[in-house]
């Protein structure tokens, strides 16, 4: 990955962060912690990896994304809007009466959402079914699955892990957003998950752990996973809950927070500065000056 490409993805991640916060602030609250920890993964997927057409969201020959931690809809909506699936202005209709951006993602309401999620654990089975469906229909694309670490408490995740490995679904690439916290506290203090990388390996997956806020590491991991043809792959993203906003980064109890207009202004200032700096660096990198 060139420095320019890296800066471009960092910039996209910062924009995703800010737009997610604007969206959640429009409603007054949201699952900020798990939304913000996913910004880099979303930037790499929609900014560089996935094959899609924002003008034709239902294009059959496309990659699919299953956001199994469906409560983090706002991070998906932010990247979809930034990539042109719908206007940025629509992000301010999160959870609105009769609106098309429910807090948990719904395939029948939002352009670009490939499948409805919201009851934890189920996305893993949906993704396995989609990957199997791609194989049966000879669609040479990938299915990407995003799980939360707390979500791995659900038995269905492990049922699906066995099912996908048994069928050698090499077109299934999963991520665990290992941000170390769930609603009630640290995952280790609630239902310790142990060594997730090793667990998925034992369940028959290719598995690796990477720094989840390093866009180059995320991209390289996806490329490596794509090369594994005979088994599904899991990428454990070592992340920080609430990353990239001083109000939430690394703080406890940020699974779901209220966001006041004043806090939104602070976020716009803080992340706006990051965006402007990255824009300068991206421009410099494009000209080979970085």
């Amino acid at each position: 990955m060139t420095i320019y490409e890296k800066k471009e993805l960092d910039l996209l991640a910062a924009k995703i962060r800010l737009q997610s916060i604007i969206s959640m602030a429009s409603y007054g609250s949201g699952h900020a912690g798990g939304v913000l920890s996913l910004a880099e993964a979303m930037a790499v997927l929609y900014g560089k990896v996935m094959h899609y057409d924002s003008a034709n969201p239902q294009m059959e020959d496309r990659d699919r994304l299953v956001l199994s931690k469906g409560h983090c809809g706002p991070v998906l909506y932010a990247v979809l809007a930034l990539e042109g699936f719908f206007p940025l202005e629509m992000l301010k209709t999160l959870n609105a009466n009769g609106g098309n951006l429910p807090s948990h993602s719904n395939m029948h309401k939002t352009p670009g959402v490939d499948i409805s999620t919201g009851s934890l654990g189920q996305g893993s089975s949906l993704a396995a079914g989609i990957a199997l469906g791609m194989r049966l229909r000879d669609i040479q694309r990938f299915t990407y699955l995003i799980l939360g670490d707390g979500e791995c408490d659900e038995g269905q995740v492990w049922e699906a892990a066995l099912f996908a490995a048994q069928r050698g679904l090499g077109n299934l690439i999963g991520f665990v957003d290992w941000n170390h916290q769930q609603l009630d506290g640290y995952t280790d203090g609630i239902c310790g998950l142990g060594d997730l990388e090793r667990k998925f390996m034992d369940f028959g997956w290719d598995s690796r752990t990477i720094p989840g806020h390093d866009v180059e590491a995320v991209y390289d991991a996806v490329v490596s996973a794509q090369a594994v043809k005979d088994k599904p792959s899991m990428i454990i993203l070592d992340t920080v809950k609430g990353k990239g906003w001083s109000l939430t980064e690394g703080k406890p109890n940020v699974h779901h927070i209220t966001i006041s207009p004043e806090q939104l202004t602070e976020a716009e200032n803080e992340i706006g500065t990051v965006i402007r700096n990255l824009e300068k660096e991206t421009a410099a990198a494009r000209q080979g000056n970085l």
């Binding site: 499948i115 919201g118 009851s119 189920q122 893993s124 089975s125 949906l126 079914g129 469906g133 049966l136």
Partner: protein, 324 residues
């Protein structure tokens, strides 16, 4: 009343029909939960090994994976015993199926008394109740092979969520070969004028017909309405039954709460049809082991009990006069 028997049990008829449909429609795939040999779908696996997926003992994942397959344009037929096809994967049926507006055909075998050899753990007395609480699921309870032959193609071809309560080993012949049935329309299995017995499934429709025979000996003309589509309920057929025969008795292989009896009661109440009304079924109790005849007798669901209940309702009708 003696019924003929078919050479094929319903599970085998089901597989045979599915295989015929799958030969013409490559979208049909089968998922089972380590029950291929119990469901009869081993025959489908033999014919289409590349389109049959034995998930192992994991009903929740099976239902979720079916949602994914459906979203890719396939038509998954998924199987478990009715107890697990309902209780064990309710949230998956809702979230990955109903809410996501997918196209999944859920085969739940041996509901109610049909699984009494395995006892209370395996007797689904609440599956219809669970399914009918969710919008947009069509619930079908086939009576015999003739009916299955008539309705299964429509179930497969119609986009949407279906739940099929199938008594695996029943080979009772109720209907003449070639009889046509329409999904959503109750079938008058026997005409009658004094009372209507509204029944469902391969166990209770035959019991209701046997009861109607006995009632005829007593001078009571009982209509038997086969309500094989439990949801959406054929409201018009219920209204006609109440208006034309003046008394209604339901007979279901299910808890009397939240099943066919409840659904019929809702219509009668909403339509202000205050006719004598009763329900035959499991009276909010747990199941147990035993033969099907033993269970039906013990729980007050066999032809003798249906006959007695019908007699009582008809006598109430005479005492009360017409109230509709």
């Amino acid at each position: 009343m003696q019924f003929k028997t078919s050479t094929a049990a319903l599970r085998d008829a089901n597989s045979r029909i599915l295989i015929d449909l799958a030969k013409k429609d490559s979208r049909i795939v089968v998922l089972d939960s380590d029950l291929l040999n119990a469901s009869g779908l081993a025959a489908f696996n033999k014919e289409f090994p590349g389109r049959t997926f034995n998930c192992g003992i994991q009903e929740a994942n099976m239902a979720g994976a079916a949602g994914g397959l459906s979203s890719m344009g396939l038509i998954p037929v998924i199987h478990s015993f009715a107890s697990f096809a309902s209780r064990r994967m309710t949230d998956q049926v809702f979230m990955s199926g109903v809410y996501a507006e997918q196209n999944i055909k859920i085969l739940g075998t041996d509901p109610g008394a049909a699984n009494s050899a395995n006892g209370g753990t395996h007797m689904a007395l609440e599956d219809t109740g669970i399914m009918r609480s969710m919008p947009d699921i069509t619930i079908v309870s086939p009576t015999d092979e003739t009916m299955l032959e008539s309705i299964l193609p429509g179930i497969i071809e119609t986009y949407g969520m279906f739940y099929i309560r199938l008594v695996r080993k029943s080979s009772i012949v109720v209907y003449e070969a070639g009889t046509n049935f329409t999904l959503g329309k109750a079938h008058i299995a026997r005409p009658g004028t004094d009372i209507t017995i509204i029944a469902e499934g391969a166990i209770m429709v035959p019991e209701a017909l046997k009861a109607a025979d006995r009632l005829e000996q007593l001078g009571i003309s009982a209509r038997v309405l086969d309500m094989f589509t439990i949801k959406p309920l054929d409201r018009e057929a219920v209204i006609s039954a109440a208006r034309e025969t003046g008394a209604v008795l339901t007979a279901e292989n299910h808890n009397i709460l939240n099943g066919l009896g409840s659904a019929v009661a809702e219509v009668l109440a909403e339509e202000r049809l205050a006719v004598p009304f009763g329900r035959i079924g499991f009276r909010d109790v747990l199941g147990q082991t035993g033969t099907v005849p033993y269970i039906l007798e013990t729980y007050g669901m066999d032809a003798a009990h249906i006959t007695e209940a019908a007699k009582k309702l008809v006598s109430e009708k005479v005492q009360a006069g017409s109230r509709i």
